[in-house]
């Protein structure tokens, strides 16, 4: 005589064993925690990209500012330049732009007249380091 027969219940009235309930609870908890985590992650991404969008505006602005200057301006001296990247009054990263003399083999007529500027805005948003990079060629003026 097995336990079920001893208890006098048929299989349809057996209910759940403690182990089944524990396993089901653990699975349900994992599923809900996973779901909640994806919400948190999504929210984090949105906050992160908010600062990245601002960084892109700053990088584009730097390129436009350089475009209005003569290549003899201090901002165009060869090498690296840096300024803090401030978002909503808080310095959250660095804006650097590197000026290099460059020759484009495809356009020999422009030999010695080009400068390549790489603007990099590196920022720490939501604990993750991101960077936005723009590269542009300027003709010596």
């Amino acid at each position: 005589m097995d336990r079920r027969e001893r208890a006098g219940t048929d299989p349809g009235e057996r209910g759940f064993s403690l182990m089944e309930v524990i396993v089901a609870t653990v699975i349900a908890t994992l599923a809900v925690t996973g779901l909640a985590y994806t919400f948190g992650m999504g929210r984090g991404f949105i906050d992160r990209f908010e600062v990245v969008r601002a960084a892109l505006g700053v990088a584009q602005g730097r390129m436009d500012r350089l475009a209005t200057l003569s290549t003899h301006a201090p901002e165009f001296t060869l090498g690296s330049h840096a300024e803090p990247f401030v978002y909503q009054g808080v310095a959250v990263g660095n804006e650097t732009w590197v000026v290099e003399a460059i020759d484009d083999p495809a356009t020999p007529a422009l030999h010695g007249t080009l400068r390549q500027v790489t603007v990099d805005v590196a920022l720490n948003a939501e604990g993750i380091v991101n960077s936005v990079r723009l590269v542009r060629l300027f003709r010596n003026t």
């Binding site: 929210r43 990209f49 908010e50 969008r53 505006g57 700053v58 602005g61 730097r62 500012r65």
Partner: protein, 166 residues
């Protein structure tokens, strides 16, 4: 004595089951409401961010096409401005962007093309701040464009735009 299948439930059993069901339902409804709130919050914030980027793109495109620009503060408040853009050779503004005090939105108008004014973003604009210049020679500096989402989040961007059509 009734057989087990016809015995029904005691009041205690019903009370316990009801209480447990209430607890479970409260948890599910709470989770759903919270999820919904987080979703709406993040969604409106994301829309506001996209609007800020779209305004930057529009300003960039319009300023690049212009020969010169002028920036005036609205109502003596340095936080909100009016930007007038001039096509090459034109003495009157060909395009304008301004902050409206009636609804706190930023409007744009293609004056030369006879277009009507339209809002550049649906979100409330708290700052539309440029570096003032009577006749900006080569560069228009947007110090701050701050939008507020429907849920109250603030999104701020800044940039500079060159007048390429000089």
């Amino acid at each position: 004595m009734l057989p087990r299948s016809e015995r029904g439930l005691t009041l205690t059993e019903v009370t316990i089951v009801g209480t447990l069901a209430l607890i479970v339902m409260s948890a599910i409804v709470g989770f759903y409401m919270n999820s919904q709130a987080v979703w709406i919050d993040a969604s409106t914030k994301s829309i506001t961010q996209r609007e800020a980027t779209a305004v930057l793109e529009l300003l960039s495109q319009r300023v690049h096409e212009s020969e010169r620009a002028s920036v005036t503060q609205i109502g003596g408040d340095s936080l909100v401005c009016r930007l007038d853009l001039y096509a090459p050779g034109s003495v009157t503004p060909s395009r304008s962007f301004w902050w409206s005090p009636t609804d706190s939105l930023v409007y744009a108008q293609d004056v030369a093309g006879g277009g009507t004014a339209f809002t550049v973003a649906g979100s409330v604009v708290e700052k539309f701040q440029f570096v003032p210049c009577v006749s900006c020679e080569s560069l228009v500096e947007l110090k701050a464009l701050q939008l507020r989402s429907a849920q109250g989040h603030r999104v701020e961007v800044s940039s500079q735009f060159a007048l390429y059509n000089r």
